[in-house]
Structure formats: structure tokens, C-alpha cells
Amino acid sequence: MTDTALDISLTINGERVSERVDARTTLVDFLRDGLSLTGSHVGCEHGVCGVCTVRVNGDIVRGCLMLAVQCDGATVETIEGLSDTGEIADLQAAFEQRNALQCGYCTPGILVAAQDLLKRAKENERVPSRNEIREHLSGNYCRCTGYQAIVDAVEAVAQARAGETK
């Protein structure tokens, strides 16, 4: 009646994927080990650090706190997808320009989380404050502690997308 492995079909970065997965496999492990999408990282594995942040059905989630089997029928977008479509090209350029990454381990998760804030802000036609940027990224650790530059980069993109320049 119940199984420890199940067949799932989902859309990942625009591609249809059908695989058999162990029930215990987390989404991020499935992406990395099953599909070689290694841009999503694995850190704390209990929802604290944010390096595994991906989008499921348009909302950001912890890839370590969702099981792959729960994503049957879902649309998943990873940092690879967001990069390839050019959706965050300006954000990535701003990170490079402002040195908003050092070792880079946290960067994919931070980009996905920051894009979530920027997208919502654009929809609501407002520019998030530095405080709102910090709050939205509160679930993403940077252990190089480069937060200042990260907030600078996100703020610059928020202003640029709203048609303002700094």
C-alpha cells in the first residue's frame, strides 16, 4: 500500500523530468545528486542557512525541508534556470560589480531569495528599503559575513528596476 520509492514527474527549469526517487530524498539532494544541478548547495540541512533555496511553483522554499516526492507535478526553478533565462542577469552583474560574494557558497541561495523580494516589490511598484532587504534575506547566512555589499547590490538592482538610479 505504501512505498519507500515513488515515480515522480515534474518540470525543472522548463524541462519535463520523470524519475523514481526514494521517499527520504530531499528536493535539494534530488536536484544535486539525481540531476547534477549542483548550483543549489547543501549546508545545515535543517532549514537555518538558506543555501538550498529554490523556487517551487513560484515560491521560494528550503530545498532541504521538502521531499522530492512532494514535488510530483510541481514546477521547480533553480539558480541554473534563473541564470539561463536571464531573469537575474542584472542582479548577478550587481553582485560582481559590488563584490557581494567572497567564497560564493551562499550566493545561489541569496540570489534566489533576493529575486523573490525584487519580483514582489516590482509587482507592488515599490522599492524595498535596506531594512526590508535585510529582513527578507534574514534566512540566508553568509559566513564570510559580506552582508553590507549584498544589501548594496540588491538595493541597487531594486532602484534600477524601478527606473531610479543611485
Binding site: 521517499a23 535543517h46 529582513e135 534566512g139
Partner: protein, 277 residues
């Protein structure tokens, strides 16, 4: 770490989930934001996960007979964006942004947070402060459990082994309802070192029916009744002096620090209750 092996079943109806709960060592999977973390760390190793996310009818927010009824699968983010919650459950609206981080709030459910009964979590304290209730569904049907009878101990509730929390109900806020909420955490969204949820009714220039529920100070969220009557008389200093809490030390702070901070929060929350925005 990785979870120990388990079987997985997506339930399509409450009755199916209740029946599956009769199997040995089965757990319900709702938002999974606490459960999957404990699986990953092998703090729990159930033999079967029953995914209830596919059960229809559990994700509504509705006003019914003076109560706000919130389905168990309503996610924190959904409640945060809800006009009905903002209007009729303003205490929740204040508390929700403190719960975890955006990615956590997109998945975590209100029902899961209440049923998990973490002593440092915001929502159990809100339910207690609002004199709310829980709807449980089991093999014999539905029953209602008052918040003050629901939280039994550390991660322990009045739910029977085969019961599922299917909704929470809170008295809808009226024009005289006042609420207050404050918490102290190391990082925004982390578990509280100590927190306080409060509700009251304006009574002329004073307050009545003050209910204070602290979290992060013991095995469950706790009401502090002596302080409630002091606050109703407008005596904030008296309420702080009377603070009847004896929080144990934990990894975040000593009991003495927590007790001091509880007094600080009491002053902040008293101000919110007395001077509504």
C-alpha cells in the same frame, strides 16, 4: 545528515489519513518545516509519512459565528497576506512576520505549528492569548479542544494518537479588541529567546479581559494571570514586579536573563495594548 528510510503516502481525504495514522509509527507531513529538519538530523525516524498536503478543504480562512476559522493547511505566507486575518485576527498578523524566514513561511502551516507545540513558537502563545480553540478529527469524528486544554507539555498536546488537527478557531476581533506582540531573538526569524502575545478589550480608558501568553520560557506557552489583573488596572510597574515566571536556562540565555527580558517585553506589550495604533 540524511533521513532514515521511510514509506510515503499522499492522503486524499481526512478519513484516509486518520486510518493510516493507525499504522505503527506513522507521522503526518504538513508544511514539514520542523518535521523534515528532525528527519534530516535523525531526531525522528517514523516508518511512514502521511502527506496531508493533497487533502482538499483544509486551506480556507473564514468568518463563522464570530470566530475566525483557519484551516490546518493554511500556510504562514497565505495568512500573512490575508485581509481577513489582518482585520479579524490582528494578533496573528503581528506575530506571523516573526515566524522563520520567507522561504519557511511559504511552506509552514498554521495547523502544523500549533500541533507541533514548540514552546518557543509564536502561534501556540497567540492561540492561548486569544482564548482560541482547536478542531481535531479522529476515527469518531470531530471534537473541539480549548487552547488552555490543548498544550500539555513539551511538544505534547491533547491530540489522541489517531487524531488530526484540522482547523483552529479564534474569536474575531471587535472594535474594542486590543492586541500586543513582541519577541526577542538573536536573528530576525529565529526562535524567540522570549516572546509575549497579548489580547485585551478596551474598557473606557482602561483594559479588561487582559490575557498574556509568554513563549520561550518553559515547556509550553504560559499565561501569567497575576500580571493580567495588574495590567487591567493600568499598573505596568506592578505587573512587571509581579511577573510570576521561572524560566529554565537554555542554550540561548540563562533563566535570569529570560526573566529580565520578559519584564522588558511586558512593558512594550502593555504600551501596545494601552495605546493602539
Amino acid at each position: 545528515m540524511k533521513p532514515a528510510p521511510f514509506a510515503y503516502k499522499k492522503a486524499r481525504a481526512i478519513e484516509e489519513a486518520v486510518a493510516l495514522l493507525g499504522e505503527q509509527d506513522a507521522r503526518l507531513l504538513a508544511g514539514g518545516q520542523s518535521l523534515i529538519a528532525t528527519l534530516n538530523m535523525r531526531l525522528s525516524a517514523p516508518s511512514l509519512l502521511i502527506d496531508i498536503n493533497g487533502i482538499g478543504g483544509l486551506d480556507g480562512i473564514a468568518l463563522k459565528g464570530g470566530m475566525v476559522e483557519i484551516g490546518a493547511l493554511v500556510r504562514h505566507a497565505q495568512a500573512e497576506r490575508s485581509d481577513a486575518i489582518a482585520k479579524s485576527a490582528p494578533l496573528l498578523a503581528r506575530a506571523l512576520p516573526h515566524i522563520g524566514h520567507p522561504a519557511i513561511r511559504n511552506r509552514g502551516t498554521l495547523g502544523g505549528s500549533i500541533a507541533f507545540a514548540d514552546p518557543a513558537a509564536e502561534l501556540p502563545a497567540c492561540l492561548l492569548a486569544l482564548d482560541g480553540e482547536v478542531e481535531a478529527t479522529g476515527p469518531k469524528g470531530k471534537r473541539t479542544i480549548k487552547a488552555e486544554d490543548f498544550f500539555k507539555g513539551l511538544f505534547e498536546t491533547a491530540l489522541a494518537p489517531q487524531e488530526i488537527l484540522t482547523a483552529i478557531r479564534l474569536p474575531a476581533a471587535g472594535k474594542d479588541t486590543r492586541v500586543g506582540f513582541a519577541e526577542l531573538a538573536r536573528r530576525h526569524g529565529d526562535y524567540a529567546i522570549v516572546g509575549l502575545a497579548a489580547s485585551a478589550e478596551a474598557d473606557g480608558k482602561g483594559l479588561k479581559d487582559v490575557r498574556l501568553a509568554y513563549f520561550g520560557v518553559g515547556a509550553t506557552a504560559v499565561r501569567t494571570k497575576k500580571e493580567e489583573s495588574a495590567l487591567a488596572k493600568g499598573d505596568i510597574d506592578g505587573a512587571v514586579v509581579a511577573l510570576d515566571l521561572d524560566p529554565p536556562d537554555d542554550v540561548q540565555a540563562s533563566g535570569a536573563v529570560k526573566k529580565h527580558l520578559a519584564g522588558v517585553l511586558l512593558r512594550r506589550v502593555a504600551k501596545q495594548l494601552m495605546e493602539p495604533a
